[in-house]
């Protein structure tokens, strides 16, 4: 069989590790479009930002989560505030990251930043299938000066296993 035929047949082989389901929650796609903005709670509290659900039909599937959040902090003088962001499956914390917002100005200032979260959930389900898993993105600040006025995006992509 000619090599080119081999190659063309290869195009029709079943693929693996494919993206089979995609869910998204995007309550705000532009900065400032959440009005009034979401006030980020101070520790030990957390503020839910958004959530997304995905129905899982195989225990070997992986859920690829991506989140993007715009944050704004107000300062009276030079300083920093740190925001902790988490992803939860149900009530279980599965991912955590931190972002510091800094102001170099001695004058009052408003500073905006963007933060990204990315996690692959490999233990999404147990028991009888299919199972719907709900993922929540939440945030906490170390001072009461942080808000989110958007953008806010959370996606959940389901990927089949690589046999």
């Amino acid at each position: 069989m000619p090599e080119d035929i081999h190659g063309q047949l290869n195009l029709f082989l079943r693929e693996r590790g494919i993206l089979t389901d995609f869910q998204v929650s995007e309550p705000a796609s532009t900065s400032g479009s959440i009005n009034p903005p979401i006030e980020i709670a101070v520790a030990p509290g957390f503020t839910p930002i958004t959530s997304v659900s995905v129905t899982i039909n195989n225990q070997t599937n992986r859920i690829w989560l991506n989140g993007t959040v715009g944050l704004t902090a107000t300062f009276d003088a030079a300083g920093v505030v740190t925001v902790t962001l988490q992803l939860l499956r149900g009530t279980t914390i599965i991912y955590q990251t931190s972002k510091t917002i800094s102001s170099p100005s001695v004058l009052p200032a408003t500073v905006s930043e963007i933060v990204h979260l990315e996690h692959i959930d490999v233990t999404a389900v147990s028991g009888e299938l299919p199972v719907t898993a709900t993922y929540t993105l939440r945030a906490q600040a170390d001072t009461a000066t942080v808000t989110s006025g958007g953008p806010v995006t959370l996606t959940a992509a389901q990927l089949e296993r690589n046999p």
């Binding site: 030079a78 740190t82 991912y95 955590q96 990251t97 931190s98 800094s102 170099p104 990315e118």
Partner: protein, 165 residues
């Protein structure tokens, strides 16, 4: 094109799809012992390429910080390499404007599409006959030894199948 048709083994052409998903996520929630970023390998994953018209969609996300003892700026460079050869990088800084001791956190994010992998797929024909394993590595370096990570660290690889149209 549905998942059901896939599971029933129906033969369908593949184009512009994400396939072959691979990842390495060594840390997803903060660990106790910080890893210095100086000349550090953070994550590595290997993907199967079966067509030299495929692209590889790469994402990397790293939480990092610097422990400032005084005002200052620290930079970190995050680099993606294919089989040891750098192919993409970003530089990010953290800063402290005051004399106060403080940890300043940042999140580095790289999205890169790799093509056409010429040094590992030398074939001149339209198709690859067989599969090639390609390893991508995420490394970091910093301008100050106090820059470090306690996570999270995420690296993903996906093949973008070529467009047949």
């Amino acid at each position: 094109m549905t998942q059901n048709s896939q599971s029933r083994g129906i033969v369908i052409p593949r184009q512009d799809r994400l396939t072959e998903f691979q990842f390495n996520e060594p840390i997803s929630t903060p660990i106790a012992d910080a890893i210095p970023l100086t000349n550090s390998t953070l994550a590595e994953a290997t993907i199967n390429i079966d067509d030299n018209n495929d692209k590889v969609y790469i994402t990397a996300t790293v939480g990092w910080f610097n422990a400032f003892a005084a005002a200052g700026v620290v930079a970190a460079t995050f680099t993606l390499s294919r089989n040891g050869i750098p192919i993409a990088s970003v530089v990010q800084t953290v800063s402290n404007a005051t004399a106060t001791e403080v940890d300043v956190f940042n999140v580095a994010r790289i999205i890169f599409v790799d093509q056409p992998l010429p040094e590992i797929i030398p074939s001149q024909s339209s198709f690859i006959h067989g599969n090639v394993q390609v390893t991508y590595t995420l490394t970091a370096d910093a301008s100050d030894p106090t820059a470090a990570t306690t996570g999270p660290i995420t690296l993903t690889l996906s093949t973008i199948e070529r467009n047949l149209l």
